[in-house]
Symmetry: C2
Subunit: 201 residues, 2 copies
């Protein structure tokens, strides 16, 4: 959590770019995507806007890079932690996601709105991330477990799992705004249990 | 399905406005919301743009009126048809929704994108419509049936039902684009069965 230092030498352009993206993603936590401008990043990083344009090309590319980083972060924090029971593993991953949404609420909501709205580039990044998360769910469940549940890994099943992801996103964002009397644990159990209910007959 | 006639006299401004909205909604079926401009409506209705501005104020108000009409249409076509079994009733209503999305795909997708994106007025109209649909589901299920299932009509239950609505929207839009081997009946059964799975423990 160090702020990028401009004085350090011998930092590769790639590392510097990564460091700036870290900062951009942190700024996004409490700001909307539109509020995280190249101007703000320059000010916070203590470097010139010209240099930032050198790293990110333009505002749209900068935002795409920040969103890509944010979805990578979500993918990383929800990674399986070696819990044997798939449903328990799922609930733990969902818990990490819930905490992320809580801590990054303003930026996260603006990100999903931008992706759900008219921004085609952000939509593509977002859908790719959702597909990666879905793929991982199938890996976690494992072919054997799926067969036991009578679930076939088909296009139809993927369609329904993607619908479940939409449900999770919707419910978690609403829950963070107003928990409606549901404890975090109840929420996670409900969301995890819905998945097998959707994909099994 | 008659085109509005400009020659008819004694039509009240309200009826004329309704007629123009009918036309706007029909135009929306195969066009995005942005493509349904006041210019296009004027051309199709054979009246002046000036008169249309008189009825709708500006483009944003016109679009809000068209979207309001579209969600009213969805509410109407998915109305319960007196089927006793709540799950069967739900599947039939979902079927009407699926057919609507199919017939109005371009406009419907642009509408939900506009509502999910940054347009606050469209978002409000859309969320109000979703709330009305949710309310009706609780009415259809009936207090007795809910009690039998052990479902309490609480804020938490409503949160989950709204998540189910997000799932339905996501799955239906994707299914219309690519059915992924799921028949219409299978789709409706799956979507209907998910609802009790979400709200019961």
């Amino acid at each position: 959590m160090t702020t990028p230092s401009t004085g350090r030498v011998r930092m590769s352009p790639e590392s510097r770019r990564e460091q700036l993206l870290d900062l951009g993603t942190r700024l996004l936590a409490t700001r909307t995507l539109d509020e995280v401008s190249i101007e703000l990043l320059a000010e916070e990083a203590g470097i010139s806007r010209g240099l930032l344009y050198h790293y990110f090309g333009n505002k749209q590319e900068f935002h795409a890079a920040v969103v890509r980083r944010a979805v990578e972060d979500i993918y990383a924090i929800t990674a399986p932690r070696g819990i044997e029971d798939p449903l328990e593993q799922l609930a733990v991953s969902l818990g990490a996601y819930v905490d992320y949404v809580k801590e990054n609420y303003t930026g996260y909501v603006s990100l999903i709105r931008a992706a759900a709205g008219g921004n085609e580039e952000l939509r593509a990044i977002y859908q790719q991330a959702r597909r990666a998360l879905t793929d991982r769910i199938f890996e976690i469940a494992g072919a054997e477990q799926l067969a036991e549940l009578g679930v076939v890994d088909s296009a139809a099943t993927r369609l329904l799992v993607d619908g479940w992801a939409a449900l999770v996103e919707n419910v978690v964002v609403a829950w963070v705004e107003d928990p409606a009397g549901l404890s975090r644990d109840e929420l996670l159990q409900r969301l995890a249990l819905v998945l097998p209910a959707i994909v099994t007959r």
